[in-house]
Amino acid sequence: MSSGFTIEEPRSVDEALTLLAQGDETVRAIAGGTGLSLLMKYGFFEPATLVSLRHLRSSLADIEVTPDGGVRLGAMATLRDLEDAPIVAERLPLLRQALGRLATVRLRNAAQLGGAIAHGHPQMDTPPVLLALDAQVQVASIRGARTIAAQDMFLGYYETAVEDDELILEVRIPPQGEHRATYRKITARAEDDWPMLGIAALVATDGGRISRARVALGALTDRPMRLPDVESALQGSDPGSDEVEAIARDAAAALDLYDKPAASAAYQRHIVAVHLRRALLEILDLGDGSSKGGR
């Protein structure tokens, strides 16, 4: 049952890091609280100390373009801040698109980028998007600072590469160049539901050829995954719709999935084949594929 704990309200990052450095996993940062407060309510997490990030927000919520043309996102920006930021709309339309359908306005007003990473729930929309954008997550502890590639961040149910004493301070997105990207969110019940599948797909083009392709799936297993075979099939090529269909079908067939209460492995594979095809057709400007119905 609920036990006593304290809430600390550090005024500086150093102070917060000192508080987190107690070698106790029940000393935990709290950002928007939308994830953590529910885990506490269900009795999954009993803190000794919550380190509130609210007074650090003003210094760690900036969204700016970096000198190399990439984008720096402060970890304490709310999801709504990101959704509304002109820099995000202009340079990271993929992220903006995904946020636009992430739960509801009420949630996005409270949840922060750092929380949307560190929460580590496999059914979140942000992880595949961050993978597709080659995001680099900057974390710090009293031991020092380090960078974790989005690729190495998500390790399973409520598990990320962020250590107990570390805080996420910012996310860096490298310059994406000329590119087209889309996020497809498939929900099992309501429109504003958690995703049963999230597909983030991006192609950067250089003189008509695909110079870089990124395809990441979220919500299928305990962590998001890139699809290297799909990426290499796209890279350097100029596929037509039949090839795209084959690529999507093969990728879906190769997935190692398991039955879930909401969907069997076979159904999930089918959904991936349909929506991956549509995502790729869309970013390759080959129509959106919906004329082929549910195929």
Partner: protein, 179 residues
């Protein structure tokens, strides 16, 4: 109250804490509370403000919607003790006692209220929407109230009520602008 509600356990050490919240412009003392209580719980059970409703307790239904520092949030997902210093506005704070806001009146006039349980949350959400976007198109309205679940109305009259308020406010503004 549902079973999984954050019921305070007052038997152990260090359990009772006191802090102050700012609710509808007034400072309210919260005494001897467990720090894990949600803002919704504290509003309803400790501060006598039952307007914010408790349905899902997990961020899904919007019936607990309040404004916190000018942002619409689900109060069931906010720790009350982490809202110290924040400016919290609840449905009770929208209009003086015994009077209705234009949004509340429009809901009544449009027949948008059935059992009423979801309505306080919707009213707070719609005020927030119309403050941000005085003439929302239908998609904006649907987006704003997505996550305000209503099990009775089918939403048709709610959408109508929102458009009615928007139109009435626009007409009133035009009236004012006339020389």
């Amino acid at each position: 109250m549902t079973d999984h509600d954050a019921t305070p356990d007052l038997t152990g050490p260090d359990l009772s804490e006191s802090y102050a919240l700012s609710i509808n412009g007034r400072d309210r003392e919260v005494a001897d509370a467990w720090l894990g209580e949600s803002l919704l719980y504290v509003l309803r059970e400790r501060l006598g403000l039952p307007g914010s409703k408790n349905a899902c307790e997990q961020g899904e239904c919007g019936s607990c919607s309040v404004m916190m520092d000018g942002l619409l949030v689900n109060s069931c997902c906010v720790l009350a003790a982490d809202a110290v210093d924040a400016d919290v506005r609840t449905v009770e704070g929208l209009a003086p006692d015994g009077t209705l806001t234009d949004v509340q009146q429009a809901f009544l006039d449009a027949g948008a209220v059935q059992c009423g349980f979801c309505i306080p949350g919707l009213i707070v959400s719609v005020h927030d929407l119309l403050d941000r976007a005085p003439q929302p198109d239908e998609l904006e309205v649907r987006e704003a109230i997505s996550g305000n679940l209503c099990r009775c109305t089918g939403y048709g009259r709610i959408l109508q009520a929102v458009q009615d308020v928007a139109a009435a406010r626009t007409a009133a503004d035009a009236q004012e602008d006339r020389p």
